[in-house]
Symmetry: C2
Subunit: 179 residues, 2 copies
């Protein structure tokens, strides 16, 4: 896991009865600790208009992400977060309070879908489910884990789905002394 | 198209002999203007260590994105940009100098793959190819366009591929007066 300090005070540990706690309180997880169907729930992150326009100004400066009045006459019908902002918030939640994989959260991509717009005033969290566990044949120290990460708003609506394959470290084996 | 001013001086119009110029100089494109196989090339964007760590501190604070020394002992073998940073830079290039679609660059996701790490000192650009044009049956004012966007470094290596379906506006029809 990353061992990074929390970057802001808005991301706290998630309280989710019966679900695995996030990395704030949990020991690191190795490949051997995972099971298909296992679920993780992150903390929450609020989104306001200032955050939406700040991200957009830097990375996706289109009118519907920058100005509510301009957005009203577009397909979005009002200010909406860039999908890449939603993706970035999702990653921030995963790193701060998602599955505490030993070695961190490392993926090579996956199918990404923005199911509905993120609006000012939304509060997001992420749920992850383990879909498949694939030990590496060539690298005994790791495996791949296919997960489905859903980013969900305060009304329980999915705003983004992302299904990456992640690299997860195996638990280091203790060396047995040669006799 | 967005009509937004350039956010920084580093992104200029692309020079690509025989390829469609980016939106800096081109008129807006409607669905009727597109053909399968059509290609677009953006301007370039340099990446340095400060940009990599600044993005990571905000959105993906893991050691291999924050600190070169820490990254050397990880799978990355040295400081590497967050994949979401690469995605954000890709979008910035597309909005600034990519295909000048009327209505902007609006997608609902797609298959995203990070093919290799982005390193400090890299210079990125994006190429987009039109794969499929799908007029909407229910909405006569628009259609979907499937594209493949490759983010490429200064050595011609693909660092990211993304294959979204984009919403593209049809050219407004002139009203014919009733006789």
């Amino acid at each position: 896991m990353s061992g990074m300090p929390r970057a802001d005070g808005r991301i706290g540990p998630a309280m989710s009865g019966g679900l695995r706690p996030g990395r704030a309180t949990a020991p690191p997880l190795f490949l051997e600790d995972l099971t298909v169907g296992q679920r993780f729930v992150t903390a929450t992150m609020p989104v306001d208009a200032a955050a939406i326009t700040a991200f957009a100004a830097q990375w996706d400066p289109q009118p519907f992400h920058l100005d509510d009045a301009a957005a009203r006459v577009t397909l979005f019908g009002g200010l909406a977060a860039s999908g890449w902002h939603t993706a970035a918030m999702t990653m921030r939640l995963l790193v701060g309070s998602g599955p505490p994989f030993a070695g961190g959260i490392i993926g090579s991509g996956g199918e990404l879908a923005w199911e509905r717009p993120v609006r000012p005033g939304d509060t997001l969290h992420v749920t992850c489910e383990v879909l498949e566990i694939i030990p590496s044949r060539s690298r005994p120290d790791r495996g791949m884990v296919r997960v489905r990460c859903l980013t969900v708003n305060q009304d329980g609506q999915v705003v983004q789905s992302f299904a990456p394959k992640l690299v997860v470290t195996r638990r280091p084996t203790q060396e047995i002394p040669h006799g």
